[in-house]
């Protein structure tokens, strides 16, 4: 045991850093534990759903306030079979991806520029700090005046929600460039372009990825607000419409679908992050 540990000391040390230590963690990492890990992941949500259903069966919850899981599942199947759910989902997904894409296209270069340039930072800081706290929903009147009630206004609201996390995290990531690496680049007379490409951007990548993930999440948060603007489809519309009809079960279907889509896209971005940032060893809980 000790011999094996000594032989692979560097990798063992890294594994230790990544997962924390302790027998419980080690047990979770064994090949047999794949199923156990999945069970652990789902246990609490499953218990919550079971408690919810039980509370309904025992008559503690009025279904008009909170329909039971079975009823929500029924509404889900109904909306899925009719195809409405996927239509709404497709429309919202497109809006989210459009708003997010524009936020990335503007936020990423702008964030890199501000991170690198004191001048640009000084020029833009007050505008960013003042605009950032304004909730996207407050922009709706202006969005309608500027873009009308078509798609553009809705995408604009989502864009506003997504751009700030991307912008702020990108700036932070670039500002966190290790001064020791800056010194190294000076000693080696590395050109500015190469310094940015090989030192600054790779170092900022973990923060940038965090910004993208938070930005995408906020984009989903904003979809309901965006679809308050004269929408006739989309998950936000589904929720608003169902509320007016007092169809609480459909409201929940819309909510859960948004949650699931957010989770799904986050999984995609996380996977991308793991592929791009292989060199970083950080504490991931114990």
């Amino acid at each position: 045991m000790t011999g094996g540990l000594a032989a692979e000391a560097p990798s063992a040390r890294r594994a230790g850093q990544q997962t924390g230590s302790g027998a419980a963690v080690a047990a979770l990492r064994s090949p047999l534990a794949g199923l156990g890990r999945l069970a652990l992941y789902l246990a609490l949500p499953a218990a919550l759903v079971a408690a919810w259903q039980t509370a309904y069966e025992l008559g503690y919850i009025r279904p008009i306030l909170l329909p039971p899981p079975t009823k929500v599942a029924g509404a889900f199947v109904e909306l899925a079979v009719s195809g409405d759910l996927f239509r709404h989902l497709g429309v919202s997904l497109l809006r989210v991806l459009e708003g997010f894409a524009i936020a990335v296209l503007i936020g990423l270069p702008l964030g890199i520029g501000i991170g690198l340039s004191r001048l640009l930072d000084r020029l833009t800081d007050l505008i960013i700090q003042l605009t950032k706290p304004i909730p996207p929903i407050a922009w709706i009147p202006l969005a309608i005046l500027w873009f009308g009630i078509g798609e553009a206004g809705k995408v604009y609201i989502i864009f506003l929600g997504a751009i700030f996390p991307i912008l702020v995290n990108t700036i932070d990531g670039i500002r966190q460039t290790d001064h020791r690496h800056v010194e190294l680049a000076r000693v080696l007379e590395v050109t500015r372009g190469r310094f940015i490409r090989q030192v600054v951007l790779p170092g900022a990548l973990p923060n940038i990825m965090t910004g993208l993930r938070v930005g995408l999440m906020v984009a989903w948060i904003c979809v309901v607000a965006a679809e308050l603007i004269a929408a006739s489809s989309g998950l936000g519309y589904l929720i608003t419409d169902a509320r007016q009809m007092s169809q609480t079960d459909q409201v929940l279907v819309g909510m859960i679908t948004i949650g699931a889509m957010g989770k799904l896209l986050d999984v995609v971005l996380r996977a991308a992050e793991r592929r791009l940032v292989t060199w970083k060893s950080t504490f991931s809980g114990r």
């Binding site: 560097p10 000693v187 080696l188 190469r194 060199w279």
Partner: protein
């Protein structure tokens, strides 16, 4: 003719420091870090600078590297004054400072520019061999031990063929056994390449083991107290009587105010 050519070639690598001083201005006032430092390093020599922490020895090295400026007084290399960092002076820091997202090979190539791809690959391979890491070209820094990572840093510092290599407590973060291995390694590299070396350390044994001369610094303000030549054949035996005598001499330099509080013997 040949002799004078050799002499001028030697002069071209001479490192002349000072006289210089350095004052840091802090919120609470100013601190004089270095005072009246003069140091002549003939090309090809190995100079060790020892001093307790805070004596300004790292500051001195950083001034030679061009990372800090002195209050006045120049550093010249081969007759040309040093203004800012340059590839004629390689630096090895206490931490390896490898870029974690680049492979070993890419980290070494990071120091090279304006060269054809084949030439870069050739030089990188040559220097990987020099530090004994031929099999690790594609490893990432986090897969290396501390000693291996520092070897890569040495290869990176040498790949541009600098005229002077500045070593700022390069093995201070390594364990005692690895440190001794690395000292032998740097000695081997110096004997193979004859690059001028300026080593800053707080390890007296390391200073004697490696240096042609040991420069002893005292603190507040940092001044050069004495320069002791090391006239021992290499590789040096740390337990030889001459080595031990020299170690005692240097030790005494640190504690001149009072007699040594106890007999210092190994």
């Amino acid at each position: 003719m040949a002799a004078s050519a050799a002499a001028s070639a030697a002069r071209a690598d001479d490192l002349l420091v000072g006289p210089l001083s350095k004052t840091f201005t802090l919120k609470t006032g100013s601190v004089q870090a270095l005072s009246d430092i003069r140091l002549d390093v003939p090309g090809g020599r190995f100079i060790s600078i020892v001093g307790s922490s805070g004596c300004g020895k790292s500051t001195l090295l950083r001034i030679i590297a061009g990372l800090e400026t002195s209050d006045g007084g120049a550093v010249t290399l081969g007759g040309r004054p040093v203004a800012g960092p340059g590839l004629d002076r390689g630096v090895i820091f206490q931490e390896h400072r490898l870029l974690p997202w680049l492979t070993v090979e890419q980290n070494i190539a990071f120091a090279l520019k304006n060269l054809p791809k084949a030439e870069i690959a050739r030089r990188v391979r040559e220097h990987l061999e020099l530090v004994g890491l031929d099999g690790f070209a594609n490893a990432h820094p986090h897969q290396l031990s501390g000693g291996m990572a520092q070897r890569v840093a040495i290869a990176r510092a040498l790949v541009n063929r600098p005229r002077v290599l500045l070593l700022d407590e390069p093995f201070g973060a390594l364990d005692a056994l690895t440190r001794i291995q690395m000292q032998q390694e740097i000695l081997r590299i110096w004997q193979a390449q004859r690059t001028t070396m300026v080593l800053v350390t707080h390890d007296i044994d390391e200073a004697i083991f490696l240096g042609d001369e040991v420069v002893v610094m005292s603190s507040r303000p940092g001044t050069i107290k004495t320069v002791l030549p090391v006239r021992l054949p290499r590789p040096r035996d740390r337990s030889s009587p001459d080595f031990i005598t020299l170690r005692k001499d240097i030790h005494r330099e640190f504690f001149t105010a009072a007699e040594l509080p106890f007999a210092y013997e190994i």
